[in-house]
C-alpha cells in the first residue's frame, strides 16, 4: 500500500513542478483584460450598455424627455473621455467602425446629433454639420 501512496505522490509532484522545466518566455504577460487598455475597453462596453438601456427605457416611456437628454449627454461625454484615453494609449485614433459601434444612436425624438464622423471617427460636437477633423459632411440619421 505504501508503494501505491508513494506512486501517487510522485505523479502529483511531477504534475505540479512540470512547468518549472518548460522553455520559452518566462516573463509574466498580463492578459488583455488586465491591461490599462483592456480595462478601458471594459468600461466603454459598460457605458455603451448603459446608453442602450437608457434608449430602451426612454422608448418604453419610463424616462421623461428632459431626464433622457441630460442623462444621455453625460453618458456620451463619459464614453468619449474613455475613448480619448484609449486613443492616447493606442498612440493613434480609434477606428471609425469602432467609434460608431461604441455609441448607439438615440431612440425616438428629438433627432439626435451625430456623435462621431462616419468617415474618420473624430468625435463631433452636438449639432456640427461638417466634421472638424476631416471636413466631411455629417449626415444626421432619421430617428425611428
Amino acid at each position: 500500500m505504501n508503494v501505491l501512496l508513494l506512486l501517487m505522490s510522485v505523479v502529483l509532484i511531477a504534475f505540479v513542478v512540470w512547468p518549472a522545466f518548460k522553455r520559452g518566455p518566462q516573463q509574466w504577460q498580463f492578459s488583455e483584460e488586465d491591461t490599462p487598455l483592456g480595462r478601458l475597453a471594459t468600461r466603454r462596453e459598460v457605458l455603451v450598455g448603459n446608453l442602450t438601456d437608457l434608449d430602451f427605457e426612454f422608448a418604453m416611456g419610463k424616462v421623461a424627455e428632459e431626464d433622457y437628454m441630460s442623462l444621455r449627454n453625460s453618458l456620451k461625454q463619459q464614453t468619449l473621455r474613455i475613448m480619448e484615453q484609449m486613443e492616447v494609449l493606442q498612440g493613434g485614433k480609434v477606428k471609425a467602425s469602432e467609434a460608431s459601434k461604441a455609441t448607439p444612436k438615440a431612440a425616438g425624438s428629438p433627432a439626435p446629433a451625430a456623435d462621431f464622423c462616419p468617415a474618420c471617427g473624430q468625435a463631433t460636437p452636438g449639432n456640427a454639420r461638417f466634421c472638424p477633423g476631416c471636413g466631411g459632411a455629417l449626415v444626421l440619421e432619421e430617428s425611428r
Binding site: L5, L12, V16, F30, D34, N50, A59, M60, K62
Partner: protein, 669 residues
C-alpha cells in the same frame, strides 16, 4: 484499513500542496515568473484531487459499513437506507468539515481553471486567499476533526489493537429526511461559493485594480453562491416544517440565523455591485459587503459547528472553536486593514445627485439589508455575551426578531418595487407620476380587497402588518407586470414582434434585469406565504377510534391505530379522515417512531397541501388511559407560496445568469 490510510494520507498531502500553492503564487507574482505561477495553479488542482480522494474513501467506507471508523460508527448503521448512508457523510462535525473543504477546493479549482487566461493579474493573489482558507480547513480536518479515526481496544496485556463494533449507532432520526440529505451540501455550496468573489475582491484590493473588472468577473460566482444559499435556507425551512413538528418553518433558531445573515449581506452586495458597474460608485460598500459576507459565512459555520450558541461551555469543550476564533479575528483584522489602506483607490467616480435616483435606492437597500443582518447577528450572539458577562444565558426570542425583521423586511419589499422604476442620477416628477400611478393604485386597492376577503379565505381579519404586507406585495407585482408589459410593447413597436415573442426577446436581451424581476416576484410570493402565518389556527384533539374533532372548516375523524416494526424503527401510525361539509377529502396518517440503533424517538407529521392552506397534523402521543390519541392539528394558510416563491426565485436567478446576448446576436424569431 487501506481506505482510511489513503484518506488520511490524501488529507495531509492536500495540506502540503495548499501551502505550496500559496507560496508559489505569491512568489510568482512578486518575481513575475510564469513558471512559479503555473506551479501555483497546478497545486490548486492537486489539492482538489487529493481532497476528492479523501472524501471518496470516507464515502466508500460509509457505504460498506466500516464501523471501525469512529465517525461511521456514530452516524450510520447497517439497516440505514442507502440514501441516508450517502447523506450521513455530512451529518456530523468531522464529515461536514470535510465536505466544506471539498466544496472549497472544487470552487477554487474551477475558478482557477476558468480565470487562468482572463485574469492572470488578479489570480496570483486570489489563489493564496482561497488556499489559505483551504489550509485552515485542512488543518481542522487533519488535526482537530479527523473523520478517519479508528476504534482501538486494549488487550489484557495492555496492547492497543484495532477494534470493529458489530453495528453503528445509527443516524439521528431527525436527519432521516430527503431534505436533510440535500440541504447541507446545497447550503455549503452557498456558504463557500462566496470565497471566490471574496478572493477576487482581496486580489483587486492588493493589486489596486479596483475598477469594474473584478466586479464583472465575480458576478456569476456571487449569483451562484447566493442562489445555493437561498435554496439551502429554504430547504432547511422545508425540513423544519416537515420533520420538527411544531407547525412552522422558521423559528429564528441560531443555526437558521447563521445562514440567513450572510445571505442578507450577499443580497446587498448583488445589488450594490450593479451601481459600481454602471456608475463607478459605492466601491467601499462593495468591498466591505463581500468581505463581510465571506466572514459571516465562516462565522455561520463557526456558530453551528462549535456549539457556542447553545452554551459557552460547549464552546470550551469543542475542539474547533479556538481555531475558528483565531481565523476569524485574523480575517477581520486583515480585511479591515486592507480596505482602510486602499481607501484612496476606492474613491467614487460619481456622486449621488438626487435622493430620487436609482443609486440612492440601491444605497438605502444596502443600509436596510445591513441593519437587518446586524440586528439578526446581534440577537443570535447575544446569549453568548450575556453568558460571558453575567454568567446567565439570556436568550433573545422570536418577538425580538419579528419586531426588527417585519418592519425592515416590509421596507425592503417596498424598495423592491420602487428601485427598478427610478432612473439613474435623477428622476423627474413627470417620470415618477408616469411610472408609479398604476402600481400605487394597485397597492391601495389591494388593501380593502384583502380585508374584505380575508375572513372568507383565511378565516380571520388581518392586523396592520399583514395588511401592509399584502398592499406592498400588490404594489411590487404591479411594478413588475408594468415593466414586462411596457418593455414588450416597445419591442413590438420597434421590431414588429408578437407579444409573447417580444416578452421572450426582452428577457433574453437584458436577462440580468428581467431575471432580477423574476427573483423579485419570487420574493413577493415568499412574503405572501409568510403573511399567511398571521392566520395560523391550532387545535389539540384527544380522540379515540371513531371520534372526531373540528379544525377550522374541517372535521377530523380518527380511524384507528396501525403499528410497524422493522430493523430500522418501531412505529405507531394513526389514520385521520378529513371531511369538509360531509365530503371526505383526505386521509392523513401521522406517525410516532422509535429508532432502534440510536434509541431515539421521532415524529412524522402528515400534511395535506393546498394552495390556500396546509392541513398539518402531528401525532403527539397517547392519553393517560392509553385508549385515545392526542393530536395537534394546524391550519397553516398560504405556506405553499413560500416554496413556490423559492422555486420562482431560483428560476429567476438562473435566467439572470444566462450568457448575455451580444448586440447583433440572433434572437428568437
Amino acid at each position: 484499513m487501506l481506505l482510511a490510510d489513503i484518506g488520511n494520507y490524501a488529507l495531509i498531502a492536500a495540506l502540503v500542496f495548499a501551502c505550496a500553492a500559496t507560496l508559489a503564487s505569491l512568489s510568482g507574482a512578486r518575481l513575475k515568473d510564469t513558471r512559479l505561477l503555473l506551479i501555483g495553479e497546478r497545486s490548486v488542482y492537486a489539492v482538489f484531487l487529493l481532497v476528492t480522494v479523501s472524501i471518496a474513501s470516507l464515502w466508500t467506507m460509509l457505504l460498506s459499513d466500516e464501523f471501525a471508523i469512529r465517525y461511521i460508527y456514530g452516524h450510520s448503521s447497517e439497516a440505514l437506507p442507502l440514501a441516508y448512508k450517502v447523506g450521513s457523510l455530512w451529518s456530523g462535525q468531522e464529515g461536514s468539515l470535510l465536505l466544506w473543504t471539498f466544496v472549497l477546493c472544487a470552487f477554487s479549482a474551477v475558478a482557477v481553471f476558468t480565470q487562468r487566461h482572463r485574469h492572470n493579474r488578479l489570480l496570483p493573489v486570489a489563489i493564496p486567499v482561497m488556499m489559505v482558507t483551504a489550509v485552515f480547513f485542512l488543518f481542522l480536518n487533519n488535526f482537530r476533526t479527523n473523520p478517519f479515526e479508528q476504534w482501538t481496544g486494549i488487550t489484557a496485556a495492555g496492547a492497543e489493537v484495532p477494534f470493529t463494533p458489530d453495528d453503528g449507532r445509527g443516524l439521528n432520526p431527525l436527519l432521516q429526511h430527503w431534505a436533510m440529505v440535500i440541504h447541507p451540501p446545497i447550503l455549503y455550496i452557498g456558504y463557500i461559493g462566496f470565497v471566490v468573489p471574496f478572493a477576487f475582491c482581496i486580489a483587486a484590493l492588493v493589486t489596486r485594480q479596483l475598477g469594474s473588472s473584478w466586479v464583472v468577473t465575480v458576478r456569476r460566482w456571487t449569483l451562484t453562491a447566493w442562489m445555493f444559499l437561498a435554496a439551502g435556507i429554504l430547504l432547511g425551512g422545508k425540513w423544519a416544517y416537515m420533520e420538527l413538528g411544531w407547525g412552522g418553518y422558521w423559528a429564528w433558531d441560531p443555526v437558521e440565523n447563521a445562514s440567513l445573515i450572510p445571505w442578507l449581506t450577499g443580497t446587498a452586495f448583488l445589488h450594490s455591485v450593479i451601481v459600481q458597474e454602471k456608475r463607478g460608485m459605492l466601491k467601499v460598500w462593495n468591498v466591505t459587503l463581500i468581505c463581510l459576507t465571506f466572514i459571516l459565512s465562516i462565522l455561520g459555520t463557526f456558530l453551528t459547528r462549535s456549539g457556542v450558541v447553545s452554551s459557552v461551555h460547549s464552546f470550551a469543550q469543542s475542539n474547533v472553536g479556538d481555531a475558528f476564533g483565531v481565523y476569524l479575528v485574523l480575517t477581520v483584522v486583515g480585511c479591515t486593514a486592507l480596505i482602510l489602506s486602499r481607501l484612496p483607490d476606492l474613491r467614487s467616480e460619481g456622486r449621488i445627485d438626487s435622493f430620487v435616483s436609482r443609486e440612492a435606492g440601491f444605497l438605502f437597500n444596502n443600509l436596510l439589508f445591513l441593519v437587518l443582518a446586524l440586528a439578526v447577528l446581534f440577537g443570535t450572539v447575544f446569549p453568548i455575551f450575556s453568558e460571558l458577562i453575567t454568567g446567565r444565558v439570556v436568550n433573545v426570542n422570536q418577538p425580538f426578531f419579528n419586531f426588527i425583521a417585519i418592519p425592515i423586511g416590509l421596507l425592503i419589499l417596498w424598495l423592491t418595487g420602487i428601485g427598478p422604476l427610478l432612473a439613474y442620477r435623477k428622476t423627474s416628477h413627470s417620470s415618477l407620476r408616469r411610472n408609479f400611478t398604476m402600481p400605487t393604485v394597485a397597492g391601495i386597492l389591494a388593501g380593502p380587497a384583502f380585508y374584505a376577503l380575508s375572513d372568507w379565505a383565511l378565516g380571520g381579519r388581518p392586523g396592520p402588518w399583514p395588511l401592509i404586507s399584502v398592499m406592498l406585495c400588490a404594489f411590487v407585482v404591479a411594478t413588475i407586470v408594468q415593466e414586462f408589459h411596457a418593455g414588450a410593447r416597445t419591442r413590438m413597436r420597434q421590431h414588429k414582434e408578437l407579444y409573447p415573442l417580444a416578452l421572450l426577446n426582452l428577457t433574453r436581451r437584458n436577462n440580468r434585469r428581467y431575471g432580477g424581476y423574476i427573483v423579485h416576484l419570487g420574493i413577493v410570493l415568499i412574503f405572501i406565504g409568510i403573511t399567511g402565518q398571521a392566520f395560523t389556527r391550532e387545535v389539540r384533539g384527544v380522540v379515540g377510534k371513531g371520534e372526531s374533532f373540528q379544525v377550522g372548516p374541517y372535521e377530523m375523524t380518527m380511524d384507528g391505530f396501525r403499528s410497524h416494526d422493522d430493523a430500522l424503527y418501531e412505529g405507531t401510525t394513526i389514520d385521520l379522515i378529513v371531511t369538509r361539509n360531509d365530503r371526505a377529502l383526505y386521509r392523513l396518517s401521522p406517525e410516532k417512531r422509535f429508532y432502534k440503533a440510536s434509541e431515539q424517538p421521532a415524529s412524522e407529521v402528515a400534511i395535506a397541501r393546498q394552495l390556500n392552506h396546509d392541513i398539518y397534523v402531528v401525532f403527539a402521543g397517547i392519553n393517560e388511559d392509553g385508549d385515545k390519541a392526542v393530536i395537534q392539528a394546524y391550519i397553516n394558510p398560504l405556506v405553499a407560496w413560500v416554496w413556490i416563491g423559492g422555486i420562482v426565485m431560483i428560476l429567476g436567478t438562473l435566467v439572470s445568469m444566462l450568457p448575455a446576448l451580444k448586440p447583433g446576436q440572433s434572437e428568437v424569431r
